[in-house]
Symmetry: C3
Subunit: 437 residues, 3 copies
């Protein structure tokens, strides 16, 4: 008898721990390279034994090349009275990421070509990047923009763009077999809470939680890397092991009040897609399913045509679904402990389905077996209704012909995966069921 | 030219005959074994030449064993004044089926653990069974329960549980070929009208009606057996002939005022499933389609994973769809002749579709054949509309390429099966159509 | 690099030219044979170098035979005062097509068996035919019918039914390859505007417009022939070349104010079916999709089971969708230039999709290629939204794995075919895409 994997429910109190990690990481100035990114991974290593990789500037990664490393000491715009009217030290979103070094005094009109604001949300600072364009710029609120007086200003960007490396972290939790589930979060965003400190925190606590699982079927690989270039680099550095990846999820924006949204993998109906949908359906809460599209987060790289891994994306409110996206509005108030732990629950549920989505064989397939003499059926017959657990026993028996997995049975019966798991356990116990392979 | 099968419409007056048989069988105390079951089959044999099988106690049937035979002479609860307050002779539902012999005087409190009633329907006696649990009990209305005074009562169950046999009946109506359609009704319920005397009566008259058919393609096997153990025993006794069964229906609860409901076979889209749906759709009456589920009547056994026959279930109001189910409310008033004959009609329609669901070849497949010179097309052209019969001729010609059966053509065209049959007959007549195989 | 085909948008001013051709052809008395049909094709030859075929009376065509040729000099019903109360010379719809010669004086009662009118549209003359029934008749408005006084009338039909031929016209516009698209319009209707002078005019101008295309992939075969017998004859005369036909459309009733309606080919989901739907969807205008049915226009012959070509039908308001159908109400007022040119636009769009529905290969399929360094991506990152052209680039790259055509990509992405074509062009230009085969 091959017993099923077990994975306990996460403790609701974990929400506070998840949130505390978000708070701790929030002030750092992350980008796709640099010391902020390095410090972030160092902090994560206190929770999970992360392997840190440094990939040198100039390394080829498919169609891409690892860029120079970017670091900033200071950046500001000072008015003629010497006051910092825009100040990187107050909020690292003020500086366009990857801005080249600048020190000039310029009239406001010339500076304005380098300023970004959001007239439709006048109090928020937008988040902008210029990774590959050797440009510079500042971001500020529309209100601040409006209050700039004509005149000349001193612009300083004390940044360095130098040979260095791109940093990512990786952690493998070994299971019974070599087949892997990958869990990816991007790590390149500066002081933004939901996108994507929430994803980092969720993966950290999910990794810890999985160590409580028993007889895990899969090995779990956690990858924390900068968006786009980071996943491209990871894929190019690890291409010989991609065949081991059976399922994957991109974790991001998982701490906001919105409902959960699952975006299908490019394959559309892979096991991960079906497992995620089943978990969301079984949750009884509001959720949404998004078809695959090549626009989004790092699933774009995992789902590129030459890679085409079954990797979906499980978020709360993704890009386009909340106005705070990529602005200073995505701060520590926008993320809440209860949403973080709710997301952790669903991630756990999805993995529990993957772990236990087995094919069974009914050992007494001709006619129904006599459940009564095994104590699995009520003694008095004739009632109008059947209990859900008995119905689950009948469904598992009926479809366990080696051609239907437990997830197939859940989809066809309309019963929850957990309910069917409990039925399968009872039937394994009394040897009416065996694993098909 | 291979002519199609014919099967006339049942006479609407048959409803009274069907009902009379229900009335005649109603008083008998049937169970899964015993003399009531034997008498029932003896009465049916007056109408249809049934072969009666006796399967001894202890015979193995897959995971089951034929139980001891159960018979009852008398059963009651008497109050201290000697009055029968619960009396099997008044209504055989009062005794839990398969109750072991008992003769005791007991205080009411101790008896109550053995009493069953329905508070939500206070006037009805429930129907309960204890086939495999060596227990005893009485069923009574909630009103009667309420009126029982505290005190001691004499309990008598004069039943016998002895070596004997399980009885079932079978009748094979031979057709042109060896391929079989099976029609099953369960026979183990005591004084209940709709469940399942209606099913027995329907099969009896369907068997008689089929003898009016001409050139029947299939052989028809009628099986009357107790529920669950009966179908399991039948399957285990007849496993070498199961490959001949091409289609099947479980007939039950076909006499009540509810609309017709077809429950799909485990295969879901077998020919029987499609034929039943087409007949229901063509009827123009309200109907419902239920997906397969391993809960229900004897289709559970025919659709177990190791048997997996294309057997559906065609009922009016099944378990869960009417409150009278398994209570004394399912009596001779609940069953009506008009519903019995309406059900017989649909059964006939389904079988007519199976009989004539052929693959044809258009003998003039390039372009349309010139129907006009064969007298199959109106003489004056130019009208806005086309007559339905002409449209049916065109559909049959267009899709008769050997890959579409008449049922395929009905599904694609939206025309009724009968309409397409008439078109196929006309086209066979003028040799524009031949049977494909 | 294999550049895509190009086909410009038709000039909106073409509507007037299309309408002028309808006007010019309107007065002729066409039928399935005869001089009116011949003159029609002669006029068309002034616009397009049509090859004219004459198929002699008695020629076999599958199940049919080319009938005698029919011509009319005069036809009328005169009252006792010598007034023509029904006069072919006033409107050729007055005479039932293929009426045999008659010259008799008859009482009104006897004549009435040969008269056709439309009580539900009292002012319109119906259009009726008697091609294969050696009969005669007149059509008149219900109002005219009502005003006929009892008495005797002189009936004259000065027609000839003689050995002759059936005439059809054909034009092949050669493309790069031998694969053909056929475009069919029927030519047998007398003074009716929408049905089917609109179709003839559309095909004439479509043939001229296609000569403006560059690098056309397909050869285009235009067929103008009488309905039913004409397409049957064409098919039987050209059966050795049918394997070259990859797609086809039947053009008819394309000049009325109704919305466009596409009727699927018998195959249902052939490339032509999908291309037509995509063009209609992309148009942003109201449209309707009709499932295949063996009733309609000449698609019936192209979609007969022994031919089964992927030929759909693209009309505005077909038979059954407008009351003027086959009546004098379908006149020069019912057809309008703006609808003719709108139909021409959609036909052009459908052909443009067929021309460019290629399979591509992303030459950098692992991860996304870096569009930014090729000038295909905005320089500043971080925005909430993506431009539609950039999204189209990503979709084409993501699905260009040699298994998805551009139409597949349009269907999955929801983007318009034109948008995806432009993206494919950009990607071909910078060698991120090549043709798959």
């Amino acid at each position: 008898m091959a017993p099923l994997s077990t994975l306990p429910e996460p403790d609701p109190g974990l929400g506070e721990y998840l949130y505390a990690l978000v708070e701790r990481l929030y002030p750092l100035c992350r980008s796709i390279t640099g010391d902020g990114l390095r410090e972030t991974l160092a902090i994560v290593s206190e929770y999970v034994p992360l392997a840190i990789r440094e990939i040198p500037t100039g390394t080829r990664a498919f169609d891409w090349t690892v860029p120079k490393e970017w670091n900033v000491r200071d950046a500001y715009i000072k008015d003629s009275a010497g006051r910092r009217v825009v100040d990187f030290k107050q909020n690292n979103l003020h500086l366009v990421s990857y801005s080249v070094p600048v020190h000039k005094t310029l009239p406001l009109e010339e500076i304005k070509a380098h300023l970004h604001c959001l007239p439709e949300h006048p109090a928020w600072i937008p988040y902008r990047t210029a990774y590959y364009s050797e440009d510079w710029g500042f971001c500020l609120s529309h209100d601040a923009m409006q209050s700039l007086e004509p005149g000349t200003y001193e612009v300083l960007i004390d940044s360095r763009l130098e040979e260095g490396s791109l940093t990512y972290g990786e952690y493998l939790l070994p299971g019974r077999g070599k087949d892997e589930v990958i869990l990816f979060a991007h790590t390149c965003h500066p002081s933004l809470g939901n996108d994507n400190l929430s994803g980092i925190a969720l993966l950290v606590y999910l990794a810890r939680h999985l160590t409580l699982g028993q007889r895990l079927r899969y090995s779990y690989r956690f990858i924390l890397a900068p968006a786009t270039i980071g996943s491209v680099v990871w894929l190019s550095q690890n291409s010989s092991g991609l065949h081991r990846i059976k399922h994957g999820l991109v974790a991001s924006v998982v701490g906001d009040p919105g409902h959960l949204r699952y975006k299908r993998s490019r394959r559309g109906h892979a096991e991960i897609d079906r497992a995620a949908l089943q978990a969301l359906k079984d949750s009884g809460k509001k959720y949404e399913v998004l078809e695959f599209s090549p626009w989004g987060y790092d699933e774009r790289q995992f789902c590129s045509p030459g890679i085409n891994l079954p990797v979906g994306r499980l978020t709360r409110s993704p890009n386009g679904a909340y106005p705070e996206y990529h602005t200073s509005g995505d701060n520590l108030d926008f993320v809440r402990p209860e949403y973080l732990v709710d997301s952790l629950h669903i991630y756990t549920d999805v993995l529990r389905i993957l772990e236990n989505n087995c094919y069974f064989l009914n050992t007494s397939p001709q006619g129904e077996p006599q459940l009564g003499r095994r104590g699995l059926y009520r003694k008095t017959g004739g009632q109008q209704e059947i209990e859900e657990h008995q119905l689950a026993l009948l469904w598992v028996l009926n479809l366990s012909d080696g051609k239907h997995s437990l997830l197939d049975i859940a989809e066809r019966s309309g019963l929850s995966f957990k309910r069917l798991c409990r039925a399968a356990e009872d039937l394994l116990q009394c040897r009416l069921l065996t694993l098909a392979f």
